[in-house]
Amino acid sequence: MSHLTLAAEGLDAGYERGARVLDGASLTVPPGRRLALLGANGSGKTTLLRCLSGALAPARGRVTLDGAELRPTRSGLRAHRQAVQLVLQDPDDQLFSASVAQDVSFGPVNLGLPEAEVRARVAEALELLAVAHLAGRPTHQLSYGERKRVAIAGAVAMRPCVLMLDEPTAGLDPTAVGEALAALARLQEADSTVVMSTHDVDLALRWADEVAVVVDGGVVQGAPDVVLGDDVLLARARLDRPWALSVGARLQALGLLPDGALPRDADALLAALPDRPGVTA
């Protein structure tokens, strides 16, 4: 899988209670990296992801893949969907076959691939998501976390260049979130670009190479510690500041943390703090 640059330019899309959801939103997905898309409920994260995936045609603006505009024709969408896959939030909306392996094979079979190739892709996707042991199980017997990972495997089996996930960690307990993030890390190592939407700012800070905040119909994009440290922006977006940035900044001011980039989670913060009283960074 080569890296392609997926971008949105000046998108207007969606209507909610008489107002545009997206109003001139532009975003460039950094190829080969991890992008967290942040925003409150109803801010337009999902609308933006649906436009990027080709599921929703914007009222204005364009979506491009390596500069080429996505055309809402049958062949245009077909090509786009082979390169860009979106995994929706509720796994039950995506699992419609009887067994796990059958469900993951849905995309490759629809692509008309030979059986051996389908089998290989299914096996690979199940392996990457660490759900190979579930292959023969009926989907309705799986736990919520397992269903989420199987739904992601279904998209991965399409071998997209850009994999987008709408709230992949919502409803998962901490261990399951850890497993999901580990699977996404393996995907990225396998050369994919990964986009994840979330409203968990702590998670975004910990995970992402870059973040984009959807606010007032537009998008603000940048480095995680810069964007998530901007209190004015966060208030407009109805988001909290990540605790690690708040606490880290104070500890840096107190001379307990070295200058430069702040730790992004509890483990990194504890590792950077001195062990004994009286020692400063």
């Binding site: 419609f96 076959s97 009887a98 067994s99 009926p138 309705h140």
Partner: protein, 207 residues
Amino acid sequence: MHIAEGFLPPAHAIGWTIAAAPFVVHGARAVVKEVRENPESTLLLGAAGAFTFVLSAIKLPSITGSSSHPTGTGLGAVLFRPPVMALLGTVVLLFQALLLAHGGLTTLGANAFSMAVVGPWAGYAAYRLVRRSGGGLLPGVFAAMAIADLATYVTTALQLAWAHPDAASGFAGAAAKFLSVFAFTQVPLAIGEGLLGVLLFRVLTVN
């Protein structure tokens, strides 16, 4: 295929309403009895009605290039029996008239007669016939859904022919006209809906 509001003369509108009424009342009695014995079935029947409504939002393409929406009454007849379908089908027709502008109020009786009475009964009869003569579940479901669709379409065409007989050849000529005009969309749809039923039951029975 629903007859639009205002398309039937008053006498026909009244006549078909009277014709459909006993079946719908019979279905309502069955529902009242079911709910009295088992209050939760209100929710199951409501869900069944909603499913029938939503099924008609699935677009089925056909090889002739036309595309149409299934009626779902054959499936409902197999799952819930024709009397209950007479009521649920009528409720769905009322919803389609008022939420989708599909059908009408004065034509509700005529549409209920073709889609909620004749369709389900014909489909159910076809299903029993196939099963009794040794056919499997899937052929039975195919027959139920395809025949329910065909029977509904034929009934509707005859209703229209009776209301608007041909100036020269009368009822027979009008029936031939309406049957052939609507055959373009309805015959492929009947086959398509039968296939849809088979695919649906295949998924359900594997689970």
